[in-house]
């Protein structure tokens, strides 16, 4: 069995109750459930944008509090629902993270643009000139610029139209495989869950209802709750 990257043991925070699961190397975990179930809160516990009230989170078998916070956030990258780009050029956005750690070389910019399928000459464009889809690509590239091992995705395509969603998904899958990333992703789309995920964690009212292989969960749900949720979505 591959190495455990994250272990959540009986974690409580706000709506979340006794959350327990393990995220292994190169897992692509889909966190899903009704609105208000605590999905985003859960995602923020992975890189300490939030902390549990009770329970423990282990990262590489060590309590997460023992890591230097900026370094932890560097290796556990988060892509937010909205791009929230800094009001500069595309290049400035890509450099932001690595520059904090004195780890930026200009050559990386081109590779990043290639990952997210944007033309190189966009690097000197102001972010105000970009379309919604392009902005989300830059946001993704900005997180990847830090060379994270784990990628957290908080509904990264929810603000985009269908054509853009499909294109970004393809890029995502390609770059996750290429960089052997471990992923935790919140999504509302069960089709997206199936295309990107390997594992699934279904939560309702802050509790884990089902956890396992994503195809198993989506095709043969064990619980009434998940069956009903899938029926509705």
């Amino acid at each position: 069995m591959s190495e455990a990257i994250f272990q959540f043991n009986q974690v409580n925070r706000l709506v979340l109750q006794n959350i327990t699961f393990t995220l292994r190397e190169e897992d692509r975990l889909i966190i899903f459930g009704p609105s208000g179930a605590g999905k985003s809160t859960l995602l923020h516990l992975f890189n300490r944008m939030d902390d549990p009230d009770q329970g423990e989170v282990l990262f590489h078998n060590k309590p997460i509090e023992q890591y230097d916070i900026p370094q932890l956030r560097r290796s556990v990258g988060l892509v937010l629902q909205q791009p929230h780009l800094f009001p500069d050029t595309v290049l400035d956005n890509l450099k932001f993270g690595p520059s904090l750690f004195d780890d930026w070389e200009e050559a990386r910019a081109e590779r990043l643009m290639d990952y997210v399928n944007l033309p190189i000459d966009y690097l000197n464009k102001s972010v105000d000139e970009l379309s919604g889809g392009e902005k989300q690509r830059v946001s993704l590239a900005r997180t990847l610029a830090n060379k994270p091992d784990v990628l957290l995705l908080d509904e990264p395509t929810s603000a985009l139209d269908d054509r853009n969603i499909e294109a970004i998904e393809e890029d995502l899958i390609r770059l996750i495989e290429h960089n052997h990333l471990t992923v935790a992703m919140v999504t509302h789309s069960m089709d997206q869950a199936k295309r990107i995920g390997t594992k699934g964690l279904y939560i309702e009212e802050g509790q884990v209802i089902e956890y396992g292989d994503i195809n198993q969960l989506l095709e043969n749900p064990n619980t009434e709750q998940l069956k009903q949720f899938l029926h509705k979505s």
Partner: protein
């Protein structure tokens, strides 16, 4: 010879007050009470200050000046803290800031022989510096809060990329300082062209030669400009920290209140 305005002419000022009052009445602005109250209050305050100043000017400078400066700084602190009452240590921070600014400005004035240590010179000049610093701190606090509110997403993005609170807040602080300083820069640029500044007007009315009035005005304008900048920078640099916790997580105003 000293000029004076006869008391009966002063009473005719009521005509000027009637103008905004009538406008408020016609357009039903709901400001009628406010206008009357602020006029009465302002008048009483000024006469009271006149009496106090007359008394203080008779005291030895080493007694009168510290008393008046303390009162001015305390009142300014109480007033400015309203703009940031959600933030912890706001009173003491503003107080320390205003005292610091006053000490710096006063040492320069006295050290370079620009003014003498008499209540007639120190108190009005300090009043202008403290008053403007108070406004600058208030503006900076309001702006800082709205920057943090509006840019939550960008701040979260910066933190999640590994930025420390200082780094993440850099952009918001920059904008706050810009907003707090630009009115002063503009004012300095057009000084004397659009309006003769208050102090100069006062001196000229009092019979001082314009060229001397200008010298005093220069001292006070530049002093106000630098103390306003100092105040805005000081309050922003101290206060931004409270928007984050020790775990480098972004707080919202309600949480700050709870923690503080």
């Amino acid at each position: 010879m000293e000029r004076d305005i006869p008391t009966y002419s002063l009473l005719l000022l009521i005509v000027f007050v009637m103008i905004p009052f009538t406008i408020a009445y016609i357009y039903q602005l709901g400001l009628k009470k406010e206008i009357i109250w602020s006029t009465v209050r302002g008048t009483l305050q000024l006469f009271l200050i006149g009496l106090i100043l007359t008394y203080l000017f008779d005291l030895p400078p080493l007694v009168g000046i510290p008393i008046m400066l303390s009162v001015m700084i305390l009142v300014a602190t109480f007033h400015a803290r309203k703009k940031g009452k959600e933030l912890p240590y706001i009173f003491i921070t503003i107080l320390v800031g205003l005292i610091g600014v006053e000490i710096i400005v006063l040492s320069m004035w006295l050290g370079f022989g620009m003014i003498s240590f008499t209540p007639e010179e120190v108190i009005p000049m300090s009043g202008m510096v403290i008053g403007n610093s108070m406004v600058a701190m208030g503006l900076a606090l309001e702006r800082l809060k709205s920057e943090f509110e509006q840019n939550r997403g960008k701040l979260l993005a910066a933190l999640s990329l590994g930025a420390t609170p200082k780094h993440a807040a850099h952009m918001s602080i920059k904008k706050t300082l810009n907003a707090a300083l630009i009115p002063n820069i503009d004012q300095l640029k057009t000084i004397g062209l659009v309006q003769l500044p208050g102090m100069m007007t006062g001196l000229i009315l009092g019979g001082v030669a314009p060229i001397i009035a200008i010298k005093y005005q220069l001292v006070i304008s530049i002093s106000i400009f630098s103390s306003v900048s100092l105040s805005a920078i000081f309050i922003s640099m101290v206060m931004y920290r409270f928007f984050f916790n020790k775990q480098m997580q972004l707080l919202n105003l309600q949480d700050i209140k709870k923690n503080g």
